[in-house]
């Protein structure tokens, strides 16, 4: 190779300037913290009876169209969340239940339900990914909201979400992203999340996350079979009468307590969460990892400007030589 040592060193200088400034003090961005008054849901799989009243109510209050998965298009039968559906209840069949021989709910060879809708992460990937602030996290309620008037439809949020929640309308000329926004549009009327409002067993419970978290801890500590009172509707206003039932054999885990830095929807179950489609996730949020990387490379534009300075200096010298050579020729 004919690149002289001197030239090589000059070029290498430009490269190392970037690396040197790039690896300097920029601090790792920690996980974000949940707002004090954050609102959310507690979904208790052991209380869910799979009636799908929440699916129906969600459709109604959000003006979403029905979606059909069976031949007779008689009623709304979504199999998953989509551009037309923000919330579904899925059933998981374990062991022999898959072939029809079902044991009791939540038992071995039995079945269990799981609610699929936005978990309202404390440090959401979709908000970090969105290039235009169409996905935002409310500083007071912590609700992850979406504004279609800002959205460019790049679907980085769809791809980034660790729970596969934001969905897109592929069948529309003027599409938008669809995701649960915890019925924030109903809060002005003093209403709360429709899914919790209509839930007959309190499997989906609405309220402040700190209260929901305390309730979740109480349930996990219950002895299986022990009679206890389950609140319904809104845990803070007690707008609905509670009911008494026997405690299930809860797993000692509150899903959403720590996953990707915590979520404002907490989940309880007697069946392993991974079987119910809830992935095992680290405590550090992916948003924090990604933003730490970006801030390390681009924080204060220090590294790019330093690199530009070196490049400008070197290019000026070399282009000047260039011009002289050209002029001489003429």
């Amino acid at each position: 190779m004919t690149i002289s040592r001197r030239d090589f060193l000059k070029g290498a200088l430009a490269g190392s300037a970037l690396l040197a400034t790039g690896t300097s003090p920029a601090e790792a961005r920690p996980n974000k913290v949940m707002p004090e008054e954050a609102l959310g849901l507690l979904y208790d799989s052991t209380l869910c009876i799979g009636c799908k009243a929440c699916v129906s109510a969600c459709k109604e209050v959000n003006n979403m169209p029905p979606e059909f998965s069976v031949e007779d298009q008689l009623w709304d039968t979504p199999r998953d969340i989509s551009g037309k559906t923000l919330n579904v209840i899925k059933v998981y069949e374990d062991g022999t239940c898959k072939t029809g021989a079902c044991g009791d709910k939540d038992s071995e060879n039995g079945f269990a339900f799981m609610k699929v809708s936005c978990l309202h992460c404390v440090d959401p990937s979709c908000v970090s990914a969105c290039p235009v602030s169409a996905m935002t996290k409310d500083p007071v309620t912590g609700i992850v909201g979406y504004d279609k008037s800002i959205c460019i439809g790049c679907r980085y949020c769809v791809a980034a979400c660790p729970f596969g929640v934001p969905r897109f309308q592929y069948d529309k000329a003027l599409p938008q992203i669809s995701k649960c926004q915890l019925c924030r549009h109903r809060m002005g009327e003093g209403k709360y999340a429709a899914c919790a409002e209509v839930c007959p067993t309190g499997a989906t419970l609405y309220g402040k996350v700190k209260d929901l978290h305390a309730e979740a801890k109480r349930r996990v500590a219950l002895k299986p079979g022990e009679e206890t009172v389950f609140p319904r509707g809104n845990i803070n206003t007690h707008d609905q009468s509670p009911h008494t039932a026997k405690a299930a054999k809860y797993l000692p885990q509150i899903y959403g307590e720590k996953e990707v830095g915590g979520t404002q929807m907490l989940k309880l179950s007697a069946m392993p969460f991974e079987k119910l489609g809830m992935p095992k996730l680290p405590e550090r949020s992916f948003a924090a990892t990604s933003e730490t990387m970006q801030h390390t490379l681009y924080g204060g534009l220090i590294a790019p400007l330093a690199f530009l300075g070196v490049l400008t200096f070197v290019a000026k010298r070399n282009v000047k030589n260039d011009d002289d050579a050209g002029d001489e020729k003429k």
């Binding site: 800002i150 460019i152 010298r317």
Partner: protein, 391 residues
């Protein structure tokens, strides 16, 4: 670009614009146009196979991520000429830059086809809307800025054509800064195209999810840039019946070999340090595609390690093709093969989706042919002999 180190000045090739090749290219462009019309009338799902599990298909992964990497010829050669002061490579600048200009302009335009709410695209640059923590924000701003910078870098070719010497002279005075920007910006966004995947977290297979993604994408884009220059030189010399500048290409391939070696060291050390290398020895599609990717990177390294091979156009061409394909597969692997959002999702591009990408390539080649015939791009004396041999 400014005047050169005693190289013949670039000159237009001339010749007919309507040939069987250009006609075929025009037909492919028209087909893509019709498909895009359907897309804008009936939605993205009407012509593509993308879904909520694989929301980014080849219109993002090929047209933008791979397309822009294949358009790194201008970046790679500018780095060599202006930063490492290798004036020898000067005749390569304009053709490389023109190809890059088209590659990037089309990658930028191609984004519009894939944006669901394309009429809002300007929000990404608008204070108040722009979200600076987003990797995509950085990619979008840098790619847009680079497209503008490249048009300015290339403008001397237009200015010469139209005899606007005064403007050209003024532009030449500021050109060093434009050139510096023209190296900074692709360094930023080519690395960030890899960083896009970091926020995907566990959804990207460990063979591709690493904090070194920006470095891996950056070095591979640079090597792809050199490979494309060699590829284009070979194709242009046979297409336009020009002699091949073997001396330069041989030297360039050696630079490429060094970069390739650096790339492979970074890639393998990263896999070992993260403890992800074990997943490459499992019997599944990810491991299989990983080895194809690695083989395509290793093959040109082996070919180019031999000084005699570097002097043979056929071997150079094979090495360049292998490397372009390697960068292609690396990007397909990290964005699609190694991406898993949960059970039940599948994606393979539809015919109409592929036809749009082919139409974009056809448009690029067509525009390149038209412009080198019309504008001073390819270096002069060989251009003259090309015309002579065409007669």
């Amino acid at each position: 670009m400014s005047a050169s180190h005693n190289h013949p000045a670039p000159a237009p090739l001339g010749g007919s614009l309507v040939t069987p090749t250009t006609t075929l290219l025009a037909i492919l462009v028209a087909i893509a146009g019709v498909i895009l019309l359907v897309r804008f009338l009936f939605g993205i799902g009407a012509v593509t196979n993308v879904n909520d599990g694989y929301t980014w298909g080849i219109w993002v992964v090929y047209d933008v991520v791979i397309g822009s990497a294949l358009a790194c010829g201008g970046y790679s050669v500018a780095l060599l000429v202006y930063i490492f002061n290798k004036g020898d490579y000067h005749p390569m600048i304009r053709p490389a830059l023109l190809a890059s200009l088209f590659g990037y302009t089309l990658a930028g335009a191609g984004v519009i086809f894939d944006l669901g709410r394309y009429w809002n695209f300007w929000h990404i640059f608008w204070p108040g809307y722009a979200q600076i923590n987003s990797v995509m924000f950085e990619v979008a701003v840098c790619i847009t800025a680079y497209i503008i910078v490249m048009w300015i870098e290339f403008s001397p070719a237009f200015l010469e054509k139209f005899g606007l010497k005064d403007i050209k002279k003024k532009l030449n005075k500021a050109l060093f800064f434009i050139i510096a920007l023209g190296i900074l910006l692709p360094s930023m966004h080519q690395s960030s195209l890899g960083s896009l995947l970091v926020v995907f977290g566990y959804q990207i297979h460990p063979l591709w999810q690493t904090m070194l993604l920006p470095l891996i994408y950056l070095i591979s884009a640079l090597t792809m840039g050199f490979a494309v220059v060699i590829f284009e030189a070979c194709v242009a010399s046979s297409g336009f019946k020009r002699p091949l500048e073997m001396y330069l290409l041989g030297k360039l391939s050696q630079v490429m070999w060094w970069m390739l070696t650096a790339y492979l060291i970074v890639r393998v050390v990263d896999l070992v340090v993260r403890g992800a290398i074990g997943t490459a020895f499992v019997f599944n599609i990810e491991a299989f595609m990983f080895w194809i990717e690695m083989a395509l990177f290793i093959a040109p390294m082996v070919i180019l390690s031999n000084a005699d091979s570097r002097k043979q156009p056929a071997k150079l061409f094979v090495a360049a093709c292998s490397l372009m394909l390697a960068g292609f597969i690396l990007r397909i692997n990290s964005f699609l093969v190694g991406y898993e959002t949960g059970p039940g999702w599948h994606y393979f591009p539809s015919v109409s989706e592929i036809m749009v990408s082919i139409g974009m390539i056809a448009f690029e080649v067509l525009a390149y042919i038209v412009l080198v015939r019309y504008l001073p791009v390819l270096s002069g004396n060989t251009a003259q002999s090309a015309i002579a041999s065409n007669k």
